[in-house]
Symmetry: C2
Subunit: 460 residues, 2 copies
């Protein structure tokens, strides 16, 4: 019985392995959750991995293999005779099998193919053909079908015969002789129905489905919205090609959220670096350098504005003191607004039709923030620069000018930050491209423009 | 058949409603996905809502009610006689029922209780007793149980009798006479097993469970890790108290990700404002003002550093020009590093034991970034300020000093940004509290210190 999972088992298993009690260890592994066995095997050197893995029952090997890290999968693949591997391959869940197959190079694929069972070969080649990011690329062919005019008891009998190899039999798909989907029944429906009625009797003819080329994120969202255990995936001829399960949808949601968060911080997402420690520093560098350098170059605009006013800065050095404050507060307010709007868009709380409402609400929030900051900024300037003597004006005028600049900057930045994700969405882009560093750099420009315009008008 | 869902149906339904073809409309509603019916009803005024809702079949009313917006739920609750409501209440899934009950004020709860069926009353009061954020607060009591020494066919018969009211019968929990859980069988196991063997034969005695006081996020993670459809929730006596389903886990993951992202942008998460448009500007303001004002005050430290060097700035105005650049690049690099580390921690790719590895890797990335920026900054200064005459040195020395400051700042900021989430985690805090605005403000301080130290040493 595992509750606080992982650690205790792994430690206990490692001890057994050290004491060479491999028989006891294997007995424990057979009863443990697949993912924990995989985590344990991930930590073993190649030879130990091979010995333990080959001694596990064949029906578990496929599932465990699927949960191993890529590196260990490769190790096993290279250590096992291809013929033995073909048997294991046959037991790997179809979705992960296609993924592994794609990671083998082209040459290795060709070398492996002759050893595979005909059914597996066809399955893996079909699944590998779909474009990454589509429903087809994350679907599994591990589903159960029955024919509409079967009796309930015949359908149950068919499931009994088919299902040792099927993981997912909670929904059973009803197809005609062309594999066109006409509906589904749940396993619960079958259990509840009288054994002698026809399956058609319990059939759900209204069903949610995904198209094979749909974006995988939208498929995951459908599963989430309709609380499905799995969604059927149909091709253009409405033939049932596969299913996407809720657990794969969860993975997609996690990945997309990571991508959103990275994009928002100006990090270029790519699959190579999906695992932090496994990616090299150079890979991490490549993900980040584009934005860092791009923004550095873009910041030249705000520098030109400052440059243009160097004469003013020379006569009124005190203005330099508050430059970073104006830039900083604008960046923070703008990024906050963008975060809130991106999130609301991504959770479908807001659509483009609400844009005016969103901008208006953000403007209100910005006014309240600006109001607070005005007084704080005024106070700060009096404290830090109360002794500054201007040519024609007292320190209160200076404080007022700076506080006013800051307030205007916070309002502008908030509205810009809220608008950018909406604009990106309008042009069919991902709202998260309105990244925080980009917003910061953009509002730096407005900030400098506001600051110097007010300074020129009020203090020169 | 719904594929690209929602819009078409809603439009068609609205048209039928306008044309007063309510009979046709109701026929369509009965066949449509629950969530879409709820979305349609959400848009109706109170009286229309009441008419349509009460004409829907009773067995659907509970599920539809659960998916309505809070406001519409309240409307229905107020329009319906309490006795009728009690019948609907009985059909609402237990988890959402408890949620609705908790949202009624104390007085209203007391007024409703006498009308409820005894079973519902006990259920709702038990579920409402668990602390928010725990497994107990998100669990459902809608599960199926059988006794170990039943035969498989008896178990199936019991399911047939019980399950019209049970949504989740894919796992069937096996309990003893004290409701202590001894294992589970899947519905698939029962279908596959010979009808005359004992349930004990197909029993999984190793199972994953959650404790009733476990954090809901960790429960969601367990469901995700072990690919469960539902996880049983046990109390201290190992009695089965409820289950948490995968779809509720998905909701939890979404909410926690929103919280992480908001926290990272210095937004105080709270449940009041979980819906963007429904929250007032004042509520949004309150979520954001703490950090904006806090950071504004904290930024006084970096301003004091600039203040201290105002004499230098006065003599070397050109230094003011590059102040925002130093601050900006540091903020960007630090926030990126923090994002990457927070994400890796949240996906369990990194643990505290790896801290040295993480910091080392980030330092490497930072060196590469600093190397690129050094040359760019050098170039920028030559272009923008190549004509600046220093007292003792040429423009190359100025460019070198500024580029060096920038490089050091990027390295420091990246290491600070990567370390803060690890430090927060070490003190059992949420890594996401190492928020981007906080990092920006912190590295402003190091940035100003580095900048002026180098300027004093090389240019004075």
């Amino acid at each position: 019985m595992t509750n606080t999972v992982g650690i205790t088992n792994l430690v206990q298993w490692a001890r057994l392995l050290e004491q060479q009690q491999e028989k006891e260890l294997l007995a424990l592994l057979c009863d443990a959750p697949i993912i924990e066995v995989a985590e344990f095997l991930n930590q073993q050197p190649s030879q130990k991995l091979l010995t333990l893995f080959t001694h596990l029952p064949q029906e578990l090997q496929g599932a465990i293999f699927a949960d191993l890290e890529e590196e260990q999968q490769r190790n096993l693949y290279e250590l096992l005779p291809r013929k033995d591997f073909a048997t294991i391959f046959s037991h790997i869940p179809s979705h992960q099998r296609a993924e592994f197959y794609q990671q083998l190079g082209h040459n290795e694929q060709i070398r492996l193919l002759p050893y595979l069972y005909k059914k597996d070969r066809e399955d893996v080649m079909t699944l590998s053909a779909y474009a990454p990011g589509t429903a087809g690329s994350i679907m599994s062919t591990d589903f159960a079908t029955v024919i509409e005019n079967m009796k309930v008891k015949e359908a149950i009998q068919k499931l009994r015969e088919d299902s040792p190899s099927k993981k997912m039999i909670y929904y059973i798909y009803v197809v005609d002789q062309n594999m066109q989907m006409t509906g589904f029944v749940s396993l619960k429906d079958l259990i509840m129905a009288a054994p002698d009625v026809q399956v058609a009797h319990a059939l759900h003819e209204n069903f949610i489905y995904a198209n094979i080329n749909d974006d995988r994120e939208s498929v995951a969202r459908q599963i989430e919205k309709y609380d499905l255990v799995a969604i059927p995936v149909l091709n253009e001829e409405k033939q049932l090609m596969g299913i996407v399960r809720y657990d794969d949808a969860m993975d997609v949601i996690r990945e997309e959220e990571t991508e959103d968060m990275e994009k928002f911080m100006g990090i270029v997402s790519n699959e190579d670096t999906s695992d932090y420690l496994r990616s090299s520093s150079l890979q991490h560098f490549r993900k980040r350098v584009t934005w860092i350098v791009g923004l550095f170059i873009a910041s030249i605009v705000s520098e030109l504005i400052i440059h243009k006013h160097e004469a003013l800065l020379g006569r009124l050095t005190v203005l330099a003191l508050y430059l970073p404050m104006i830039a900083g507060a604008g960046g923070n307010a703008g990024s906050q607004a963008a975060t809130v709007v991106i999130r609301a868009l991504s959770l479908s709380q807001v659509t483009l039709r609400n844009w005016l409402e969103v901008v208006f609400k953000e403007a209100q929030v910005a006014f309240l923030l600006a109001f607070c900051l005005f007084f704080l900024a005024f106070l700060k300037v009096i404290i830090l620069s109360g002794n500054v003597v201007l040519e024609n004006h007292g320190p209160y005028r200076l404080a007022f000018a700076i506080a006013l600049s800051l307030s205007l900057q916070v309002i502008t930045s908030t509205v810009v930050g809220a608008s950018l994700p909406l604009i990106a969405k309008y042009f069919n882009g991902d709202p998260a491209v309105a990244a925080s560093p980009a917003i910061t750099t953009l509002v730096d420009i407005t900030g400098m423009a506001i600051y110097f315009a007010i300074a020129m008008a009020m203090l020169y």
